[in-house]
Amino acid sequence: MPERPSQAAVPAPSLGDSLSHGWDDRDDQQLPPSDWGRRAGPRRTATIWLFALITLGLAAGNAWLSGRLTGDAFLAWATIFTAISLQAIPFLVFGVALSAALTAFVPAEFWQRAIPRRAALAVPVAGLSGAVLPGCECASVPVASGLIRRGVAPAAALTFLLAAPAINPVVLVATAVAFPNQPEMVLARFVASLGAAVVVGWLWARFGKTDWLRPPRTSHDPDASRWRVFRESMQHDLMHAGGFLVVGGLAAATLNVLVPRAWVAAVADLPVVSVLVMALLAILLSICSEADAFVAVSFTEFSPTAKLAFLVVGPMVDLKLIALQTGTFGWAFVRRFVPLTLALTLVFSFLVGGWLL
């Protein structure tokens, strides 16, 4: 190989030579080298290095930047964003842990036995049993898909999907904490959410067609240990919900700081429009149902009915849920199911809000 640079012939090797030197040694060996893909593998090594860099960057930022950044609006935004994220973390972590425990340790056959065969009866039972699955909407989509796969009527499973994120104990406790002087808000949220979910289920049982639903795939290794299912399901739900929660926190903090208060207050005074605006915000912000009450209460100008609409619409219809449902059940389903759900959540928000709040 005459073109190969010889170190002896070049008195002062350049940087390029020293970098390419390592490649030359492999010339006569097989490509790629047999040790690639072994051990941790290049992908894993790169990830570990990336996080080492991130940690180093965080430490450097902590040493030189923290507490020295200025800009009133920026700092207020950062404070509110940090506050929403921190206050949602416990709810997210324990909600996901409980949901993973139920997925791993309660066999799906239990639900099948507990839910009656006749759809008209199965729908309200499924709605009420949503009250015992603590988790946010991200958790309820895979559970509902699992129920359908194990033979539960789709209408009942869908009612469960809608009710579970809205009326489970974790969410109701979070709502009570966020509205300390308004226990009627917890009751209104429960009644309106359950009502909307059950009516959607009945309508789906009466008019729905099976081929609108894409048959769900098996997602768990059947012979995986329970602890592995628990750990993986918790990790999966946490990563899916956590990212979208941050999106919600960013949007909420931005709205909180940027949107002129006078403009929001002007909308807040219009009785019907304010409810529709809050419903639209709930759809756009896509906040996890375990944290949405804290965001709702921060819209201090809005009427209780508008806040209720935020709490009822958010867990059943929002951007990340639509994305999840499209991925799980297919577009033909989402195209019909989402508008139906939105219409009923709005109707129930107005009815229950007018009655209880």
Binding site: G61, T79, A83, Q87, I89, P90, F94, L250
Partner: protein, 247 residues
């Protein structure tokens, strides 16, 4: 996002939750004091789960390499192996906590936030009247003072010497400046402001903390129509170390 990245994100997020509660008191800038145990527990769970995820993945990788044709492929092609790209955003709160370390809300928010709304069913607070010793000033939270001023139809409070603590906020429209305090029911996102208007004292730098002693200037007319209650200062002292930013 591969498994190691997911595990690392969890560890970092857990570390952020632990650093604001265990190694510092920063969490008081963002959430209610009662959140501390829950934040610590959630932080521990995140760190443990994150470390477990990384360890299991590294072990599985070594296992694959040692016994080449494994019974079933760990990770690859499995539903749970890859997280969505949006999960990277979970690093943002970590950056916010470690790099920005935002302070408690202050004058900027107090000048743009809504003044606390008067609850419809607010009862007059008249339990204090009998218990006030003559000549002694009454120490009051800003929230309580504003509530009393809004409901004290007989203007009884105007005869008391009151002591309030808060931070200075400029008044963008008109005379004087505000002494304000933020009230938080859960986290900083729901903060509302309680404030009094001060006109007989030169304006101090914004966000500086003061304890003032003086009297309520009882307004004429319908007491519930008043937007800002006025306070006349007799004595003003600077606060060295404000304990909790919110009340």
């Amino acid at each position: 996002m591969n498994r190691i990245a997911q595990g690392m994100v969890m560890v970092l997020l857990g570390a952020a939750a632990l650093s604001v509660t265990v190694t510092s008191q920063l969490y008081l800038n963002y959430v209610q004091a009662g959140f501390r145990p829950f934040l610590i527990a959630a932080g521990v769970v995140l760190v443990v789960l994150g470390v477990a995820t990384v360890v299991v993945d590294l072990r599985a990788a070594r296992g694959d390499a040692d016994e080449e044709p494994a019974g079933h492929d760990h990770g690859h092609g499995h539903d749970h192996a890859r997280g969505p790209g949006v999960s990277w955003l979970m690093l943002l709160p970590v950056v916010a906590v470690f790099v920005i370390a935002p302070p408690a809300l202050g004058a900027y928010t107090a000048s743009t936030a809504d003044p606390a709304a008067l609850a419809d069913d607010a009862a007059p607070l008249d339990d204090l009247g009998a218990g006030v010793p003559d000549g002694e000033p009454v120490e009051m939270r800003m929230q309580e003072f504003v509530m009393r001023a809004w409901t004290d139809q007989d203007r009884k409070m105007a005869e008391w010497d009151v002591r309030l603590t808060g931070f200075a906020v400029p008044n963008p429209e008109g005379e004087g400046w505000y002494l304000a305090r933020l009230q938080m029911s859960c986290c900083a996102a729901d903060a509302i402001v309680n404030r009094v208007l001060i006109e007989n004292e030169p304006e101090p730098p914004k966000d500086s903390w003061w304890t003032v002693q003086g009297r309520w200037l009882a307004p004429e007319g319908d007491i519930q129509e008043i937007r800002d209650h006025r306070f006349e200062i007799e004595e003003i002292t600077s606060v060295e170390n404000p304990p909790d930013p919110y009340e």
